[in-house]
């Protein structure tokens, strides 16, 4: 960021009319050797003097740090730009110059760049002030603190807020006065910004020391007891060893090497080599060698024990002032509490979106199971079919929004039709034989999966979301949710509403509920259970197709897409209880929420998270064998 900025400054200044700058000339003349061979420790006053001379001085500094400043044999400084060169003092072009290029090291360039940024804080152009503030926020130094304090008041309100924040953060890090630092920390307490937490961390960094008594001059964080959590005996011994209090303990590998180096005539220290496969024999041999002086003595257990008893162990802050560390600790605890709360909210949003997906995937399964007591193993393939429908529509219609609008109803129609066909051809012939239905639909499932592979190939097909669904809705550093997931949540809500409407307000819904509760009675009341079962099957399969389009928007579309969701959908139905949409909703919320929580507790290991999830469900079934919302009435006994 600094580099292009300074180049920009440079070109802007080069375009200015040439004018002599006597102050700059004088500074250069006085410090020519410093400019030619600068050192990080001594260059600072020179840089400050040059910066104080005005725009030409700043231009010179940017050229210097960009390594485009050259020095002629007669001691003039030239700013080289490609093939041409201009005099740094007069700004006049210098033809046919061949100066010696100056190459300041990174330490010197750091000094120059801070000086440049300090100059730019007061620049009239708000964009450049903003850029300078951003660069300070990213990589602030003690020089910036002084520059910020010295700078003229900021007019732009947004920039003023930014500058105040940068000022507070720099005060916390670099101010020499502890009281000012404590005040700055307390003023910012409660903030959860990453930059604030990053500024606190170095203040709270600790090192471990071992000492015979409590050190008086150190800022002690806490005393450690050997055997504590995080401070086992081995760590204490290693600390003593690293402080030179204790001789290094003998490792088995060292022992072996030492013994191997002292083999004499088939034995070591009087022990036959063949016996050395026994650790006790090795110890005996080593002790014998130690006694003869052939190997250096190693710390024994007794010595280690004595050293441990003679020392106390402390964690010491690198920061010397205890007021600052106390304030920082308090602020950190506060920040962590607020952070935990926000992480909780974020986790809740994640869980909600996952639950919506499971709900969409499982609702069709739940309704068919409720009405017909059969599990449709091909349900996952209906999800996959919906996703492929979306993909096919997208290859035909270029406009992403329009293609999505076409794909959703089309996916519903395609999978609903497939569901009705499956019902007519297979499932109705296997009525009242749920296990056989499960197997037959499994046959359909493997056939459909292979068919999809034959038609669309094995590689993943993209189903791209329209531009307005890309990106994310972010509240702050912690809370954020991608727009697609919000859309899926809305879609799930929509289908919940639609489903409730169909079930509670339409003739079809009434008949479906009647068949679910008591098929025999419903039939004798003139309802055709076969027709109702077919309609429900179509409806459930159609929703699976919609779910497929939704899932395809954020996952890759492959022939195995359905397989990834089918087991979770089964779980949702089993946990939620059948024949009740609220049960499915509760099941989806439980499974979605729980998987997110387990994932959060063990983020490195999503596989373990899934294992625990399934184990939980198996145990859950022990207590609620019929799900969260069990079916009541006669149907429950079936």
């Amino acid at each position: 960021m600094i580099r292009p900025l300074t180049v920009f400054v440079l070109t802007l200044l080069l375009a200015m009319p040439a004018s002599a700058n006597p102050a700059l000339e004088a500074v250069i003349a006085d410090n020519l050797d410093q400019i030619e061979k600068p050192s990080r420790r001594t260059v600072e006053p020179v840089v400050a003097q040059i910066a104080a001379t005005g725009p030409e001085g700043l231009a010179l500094l940017s050229a210097w740090t960009n390594r485009s400043l050259g020095m002629t044999d007669d001691g003039r400084l030239l700013i080289v730009d490609g093939d041409g060169a201009t005099d740094a003092v007069t700004g006049k072009p210098v033809p046919a110059a061949d100066p010696k290029m100056l190459r300041p090291n990174s330490g010197v360039r750091g000094v120059i760049e801070s000086a440049l940024v300090a100059g730019e804080i007061s620049d009239p152009d708000p964009a450049r002030r903003a850029a300078a503030l951003a660069s300070i926020a990213r990589d602030g130094t003690a020089e910036h603190l002084a520059a910020l304090r010295a700078a003229a008041p900021e007019d732009d309100p947004a920039l003023a807020v930014q500058r105040n924040r940068a000022l507070s953060l720099l005060t916390i890090q670099f101010d020499g006065d502890p009281a000012a630092r404590v005040a700055a920390i307390e003023a910012m307490a409660g903030d959860v910004g990453l930059d604030f937490r990053a500024a606190l961390n170095p203040l709270l960094a600790t090192t471990r020391i071992a000492a015979p008594a409590e050190p008086t001059d150190a800022n002690i964080a806490r005393e450690l007891a050997v055997g504590d959590d995080g401070f086992p005996r081995e760590a204490a011994i290693a600390l003593l060893t690293s402080q030179g209090v204790l001789q290094p303990r003998l490792t088995p590998a060292d022992q072996r090497t030492a013994l191997a180096a002292n083999i004499e005539g088939g034995s070591v220290g009087g022990v036959a080599v063949a016996d050395l496969s026994d650790p006790a024999a090795r110890d005996r041999a080593y002790e014998a060698l130690e006694a003869s002086g052939a190997v250096p003595p190693a710390a024994t257990d007794a010595e280690a024990e004595a050293a441990l008893a003679a020392h106390r162990f402390f964690e010491v802050y690198a920061e010397a002032d205890s007021d600052v560390t106390d304030a920082a600790r308090a602020a950190q605890v506060g920040a962590q509490l607020r952070l935990a709360a926000m992480t909780g909210v974020d986790l809740g949003l994640d869980a909600l979106s996952l639950a919506s997906i499971y709900f969409l995937a499982a609702i069709g399964l739940a309704v068919t199971f409720g009405v017909m007591r059969v599990i449709n193993m091909a349900h996952g393939e209906f999800i996959m079919m919906g996703a492929y429908t979306g993909y096919t529509v997208q290859t035909l219609i270029a406009d992403r929004t329009l293609s999505l609008v076409v794909a959703l109803p089309l996916a519903f129609a395609v999978t609903a039709l497939a569901g009705v066909i499956l019902y007519r051809l297979v499932i109705r012939h296997l009525a009242h034989r749920p296990l056989e239905t499960l197997l037959a639909t499994f046959g359909v499932s493997i056939a459909l999966q292979q068919l999809a592979k034959n038609i669309f190939g094995t590689q993943a097909r993209p189903l791209t979301a329209p531009a307005w669904l890309e990106g994310a809705i972010t509240v702050n550093d912690v809370i954020g949710v991608s727009s697609i997931r919000v859309a899926i949540f809305v879609l799930a809500l929509l289908f919940l509403g639609l489903f409730l409407f169909i079930m509670k307000r339409t003739r079809l819904g009434l008949e479906v509920r009647a068949v679910t509760q008591n098929p025999g009675m419903a039939a004798s009341m003139g309802i055709n259970p076969d027709r109702i079962a077919m309609m429900t099957f179509g409806l459930g399969s159609g929703i699976a197709g919609i779910a497929g389009v939704a899932i395809g928007l954020f996952a890759q579309v492959t022939s195995e897409l359905g397989q990834q969701y089918i087991v979770q959908s089964f779980m949702t139905v089993v946990v939620g209880g059948v024949g009740n949409i609220w049960g499915t909703l509760a099941g989806a919320a439980l499974i979605g929420g729980l998987s997110k929580v387990i994932e959060f507790l063990n983020p490195a290991n999503t596989l373990a998270a899934q294992t625990f999830m399934i184990l939980f469900i198996i145990i859950f079934i022990q207590f609620r064998p019929r799900g969260i919302i069990p079916q009541r009435g006669r149907a429950a006994e079936a």
């Binding site: 292979q450 290991n605 596989l607 198996i618 079934i621």
Partner: protein, 415 residues
């Protein structure tokens, strides 16, 4: 009470047992005489291995038939026990072989290794691929063949017992139970897929075809030995299963399948019967797995994915449920056909405008034929055997109870 005739030995009451044993014996002798190690060499070693593995799958299918065909539990997690058996025997195979290799390499050192050093070397060799060098606690018994053989039976048996006890006592049955068993195998597979599960993550265990201590025996002979062992195990398990389902115990088990509630009301401890059969079947399946994976040479968590167990159910369904020989026929026919079709050796069918390549279309054909079998031949291939043998269902008044609700014993069907 009527006078009952003296009961014949159960083998004579079930002539199918003798037939199966005879076929198995003829098959084993024939393969031995045609093998490269002990005969004319017509059958290559790789084929002997495929046949040996197929016998193991048939053994697993017999256990599946016990659970599904006789007890009525459609277990979709049966292959979890199969793979567990393989993992447990694989632990010893891998440990013992690695130990020999490490011992040989450490023998070059000036000082003989301590047991701890030897174990560290072995752990490094085995777990280097997953970035670990400690031997996990689950490998504590891997050094001992007898202990590990005991575990092959004990661990899956215990798992089945705990799972079954939890499921049966809360009266989970039917489709729910199937889904739950599927969840169990998925959970186990996902756990094994982790690198820190102690089973080398998705690398699985490999090099299992080399038997420690038998370095002088070539694979040609080993494959025949394993074929014998598999055939023996299948024969013994068949007799055991047939004996189990032929007596009173078998009658109760079939009654549970047909109407669990009624059996419970008659005073039988339904859960106990279910638990015994489920656990026994898990043990048989584990033995099958322990014989299968040394022939396959490698095992990884993908073997536990639910799809494998569903295929096992497919074999049994196509072969014929409630008939132990049907399970064997189904497993042998479908698994051999599958490997023939997906191996690319089946000739393609050239239709006008399209060539049916069996590698692509076999799954479709299998799926469709599976649906057709379920719809039109619910008794599977064994139904044909029944018809040839003149075994017809007795005329019962009322509607057809369906294959789930009234399969027959052989002598009942003859009456």
């Amino acid at each position: 009470m009527t006078d009952r005739p003296t009961r014949q030995p159960f083998i004579l009451r079930n002539p199918s047992i003798l037939a199966v044993l005879a076929v198995l014996a003829v098959f084993t002798v024939a393969v031995t005489l045609l093998s490269q190690a002990y005969g004319s060499g017509v059958i290559p070693t790789s084929t002997v291995k495929v046949l040996g593995k197929t016998l193991c799958l048939a053994l697993a299918a017999v256990a599946m038939d016990l659970v599904w065909g006789y007890l009525g539990i459609l277990s979709l997690g049966q292959m979890a026990f199969f793979a567990l058996g393989g993992y447990l025997i694989g632990q010893w195979l891998m440990y013992a072989r690695t130990e020999a290799i490490v011992a040989a390499s450490l023998a070059g050192n000036p000082i003989p290794p301590t047991p701890a050093e030897l174990q560290e070397g072995v752990a490094n060799q085995i777990f280097g691929v997953v970035g670990s060098s400690d031997l996990p606690p689950v490998w504590s018994f891997a050094h001992s063949l007898p202990l590990q053989l005991l575990l092959v039976v004990a661990v899956p048996g215990l798992l089945a017992m705990v799972f079954g006890w939890l499921a049966f006592r809360s009266r989970v049955n039917g489709v729910y139970l199937s889904i739950l068993t599927q969840a169990m195998t998925l959970a186990l597979a996902l756990w094994l897929f982790q690198n820190d599960s102690g089973f080398r993550g998705n690398n699985g265990l490999s090099g299992l075809q080399n038997i420690p201590g038998l370095d002088g025996v070539d694979q040609a002979r080993l494959s025949v030995w394993f074929l014998w062992a598999s055939a023996l195990a299948l024969g013994l398990a068949y007799v055991l299963a047939a004996w189990l389902v032929s007596g009173k115990f078998g009658s109760v088990v079939r009654a549970i399948r047909d109407d669990e509630t009624r059996v419970r009301f008659l005073g039988y401890p339904v859960e106990g019967f279910k638990l015994v059969v489920f656990t026994l079947a898990a043990m048989i399946t584990a033995v099958a797995g322990a014989l299968y994976y040394p022939q396959a040479g490698i095992i990884n968590p993908a073997e536990l994915m639910p799809i494998a167990s569903i295929y096992l159910a497919v074999w049994v369904a196509i072969g014929g449920r409630g008939r132990l020989y049907g399970a064997i026929i189904g497993a042998v026919v479908v698994s051999l056909l599958s490997s023939w079709f997906t191996g690319g050796r089946a000739p393609s069918i050239h239709l006008p405008g399209y060539t049916v390549n069996w590698v692509d279309w076999w799954q479709v054909a299998l799926g469709v034929s599976f649906v057709l079998v379920t719809l039109f031949a619910p008794k599977g291939i064994a139904g044909i055997v029944d018809r040839l043998g003149g075994i017809m269902p007795p005329r019962r008044p009322g509607r057809d109870p369906g294959p789930d609700q009234g399969a027959l014993q052989e002598q009942e069907a003859k009456a």
